[in-house]
């Protein structure tokens, strides 16, 4: 796709208003859908598009929708996951604050597809401005008759409410999110049953990421077949927001078709490594995805290509680290994050993340041993696959990959009894375009 979709109005403060959105073709996809599509046909169209979940898991969206049992007498719910908290990821906030109607239109179409009449946007509590903008946009949409009873005379009713989180990374995990939305601690649930069958208030529920839902108007406007042609292949189809942060000259948000080359993204679009420094490592898809060495980054950013080299596309939250980064210290930072955010339900995650933090603190402060390096990898291995939700794996994958790919640096910390890296803790000034 040559023209931009998500970022086409970047820098224009009017883009969040319904008048601007309507003047540029907004809500036409909704009108077309309600007029010419049965709910099941919408699901088929999204299946055809090849759209996969943009929150990180990459599950086919249309297929997920088709799991909603229509013979279940309970109400059906659509929940938008706007709990954006994966370190390195900052794409949903842009959509929420600058293109809220793109999300709302996508949610109305998606709710219609799964026959839901009540939807929620679960937004992380820190995004106070984002929540306000969404409230205003929802009020505008209600006033224009896109929400409420008998939308555009179609007989279809829907309401959408904003629900602010309380500050907890785990609520981005879909079942933790549902518990939180029901007014409880965000403790993930065992699956199965999957939320599509038993979700919010024990009813069939679809949870989709902000970016996923905001793609839906485009798919309905141009057709699933057209959308599936974008990107490297139909299994990795469509457009994508790429987030680049860390040691680059021009960090920020970029929009391309799926399959942008990671090296090109860093060196051409994000302006290369900060002040001409040498690249040391890249986390490609958000903090939980395994780290890559500089010789591994000539790769297509898509679900399957990154999986083929042992990492993940995730949320496309790319974190770049230059030669001044200590890999032990970087991992120490991430494991502190996971230890803090572990909900405490499962012993391997609750205890394991804490032990990893202690080992890393020891190594970074020159008190670690060579055996500690293997112990760290061993603990990570014992967390993997042994928890209710993916937070355990998310904490273990960086530990395993950092130790595997930067083993010498970990060993040097133990041998020299100090951190051997000349770290740069100064504030870096960049030409960010986010």
């Amino acid at each position: 796709m040559s023209e931009l979709y998500f970022l086409k109005n970047r820098g224009n403060p009017e883009s969040k208003t319904i008048d601007f959105y309507l003047a540029h073709g907004g809500y036409e996809a909704l009108k077309k859908t309600l007029k010419s599509f049965e709910p099941n046909d919408v699901i088929e169209e999204v299946k055809k598009s090849g759209l996969r979940g943009r929150g990180g898991a990459g599950f086919p969206t249309g297929l997920k929708w088709s799991f909603v049992p229509q013979d279940n007498p309970n109400p059906k719910y659509l929940v938008c996951n706007a709990d954006e908290s994966e370190p390195g990821t900052f794409k949903d906030r842009y959509i929420i604050e600058h293109e809220p109607h793109m999300l709302i239109e996508g949610m109305i179409i998606s709710s219609y597809a799964i026959r839901s009449h009540l939807a929620y946007i679960y937004i992380r509590g820190e995004f106070v401005q984002g929540a306000r903008i969404l409230e205003e946009a929802l009020a505008e949409a209600r006033e224009k008759g896109f929400l409420g009873k008998n939308i555009l005379g179609s007989g279809y009713d829907l309401d959408i409410y904003v629900h602010r989180g309380g500050g907890a990374y785990i609520c981005g995990e879909e079942t933790g999110l549902l518990e939180s939305l029901e007014g409880k601690r965000g403790w993930p649930r065992l699956k199965p049953p999957f939320p599509a069958v038993v979700g919010l208030f024990k009813s069939p529920t679809i949870i989709n990421n902000v970016e996923t839902l905001a793609n839906v108007p485009l798919i309905m406007e141009r057709g699933g077949d057209w959308y599936s042609q974008l990107g490297p292949n139909p299994k990795n189809a469509g457009i994508k927001l790429y987030c680049v942060s860390g040691h680059v000259n021009r960090p920020g948000l970029f929009e391309f078709e799926m399959g942008m080359n990671l090296k090109e993204l860093i060196y051409e679009h994000a302006g290369g490594i900060y002040k001409g420094h040498q690249l040391k490592g890249v986390i490609p898809g958000g903090s939980s995805t395994p780290v890559l060495r500089p010789d591994e980054i000539d790769v297509s950013m898509d679900y399957d290509s990154l999986a083929a080299i042992g990492t993940m596309f995730g949320s496309a939250g790319t974190i770049v680290m230059d030669e001044t980064t200590c890999m032990v210290d970087a991992l120490y930072n991430l494991e502190r994050f996971y230890a803090h955010e572990s909900c405490g339900q499962c012993t391997p995650c609750r205890e394991g993340t804490m032990w990893m933090v202690k080992l890393l603190r020891r190594l970074e402060h020159g008190e670690g041993t060579v055996e500690d390096v293997d112990l760290l990898a061993d603990i990570a291995g014992n967390i993997m696959g042994r928890t209710i939700c993916p937070l355990g794996d998310a904490a273990a994958m960086p530990a395993k990959s950092f130790v595997q790919k930067f083993r010498d640096e970990f060993i040097e910390h133990a041998k020299q009894h100090k951190c051997p890296v000349k770290k740069d803790k100064s504030i870096k000034v960049t030409d960010a375009n986010a």
Partner: protein, 157 residues
């Protein structure tokens, strides 16, 4: 001391209840409302919320203690939250924290004696592309520099 919502907050609470099929689901929005009204979620506030939502007070306490945004004790007028997760750390978050500590003469987790500022180090704020970042009350401040921090803090009354 008994606590009670203002009339405006009572109306807001009634509207919140309309959004959910159960009263318990109104927990987080009610806690946000209570934080705005009372500045903290003290044991008295928890009791009040438990009455509003027809829940045992331990259910409220259980939720409050799980999340980071519901302080159980009073905080400063301006709560400074400096993001310290990886992308912000790479871009100088430690220097940001050190500068604010020195400027306000308080440590992380403390409040200035005049109750104006509370300083916190927090996990990822989701604004990694414009690191380093801090949040003061409802607002984000991005691409921080020492000069910018001084200007922001000096402008707060």
């Amino acid at each position: 001391m008994a606590v009670e919502f203002s009339e405006a907050a009572k109306q807001e609470f009634a509207e919140i209840l309309n959004h959910y099929p159960t009263k318990e689901a109104a927990m987080l929005p009610t806690l946000h409302l209570a934080k705005r009204e009372f500045g903290q979620i003290s044991p008295e506030v928890m009791t009040y919320i438990s009455q509003l939502l027809d829940l045992h007070v331990t259910r409220v306490a259980n939720v409050v203690s799980f999340y980071t945004l519901f302080p159980r004790e009073p905080e400063g007028k301006y709560v400074i939250q400096v993001c310290s997760t990886l992308s912000c750390q790479l871009m100088g978050a430690e220097t940001v924290v050190d500068h604010i500590k020195k400027k306000l003469a308080i440590d992380v987790g403390e409040t200035t004696p005049d109750k104006k500022f509370t300083l916190k180090k927090v996990e990822c704020l989701g604004s990694c592309g414009t690191a380093p970042v801090m949040q003061i009350n409802d607002d984000y401040y991005e691409q921080l520099t020492v000069e910018k921090i001084d200007k922001i803090l000096d402008s707060l009354e």
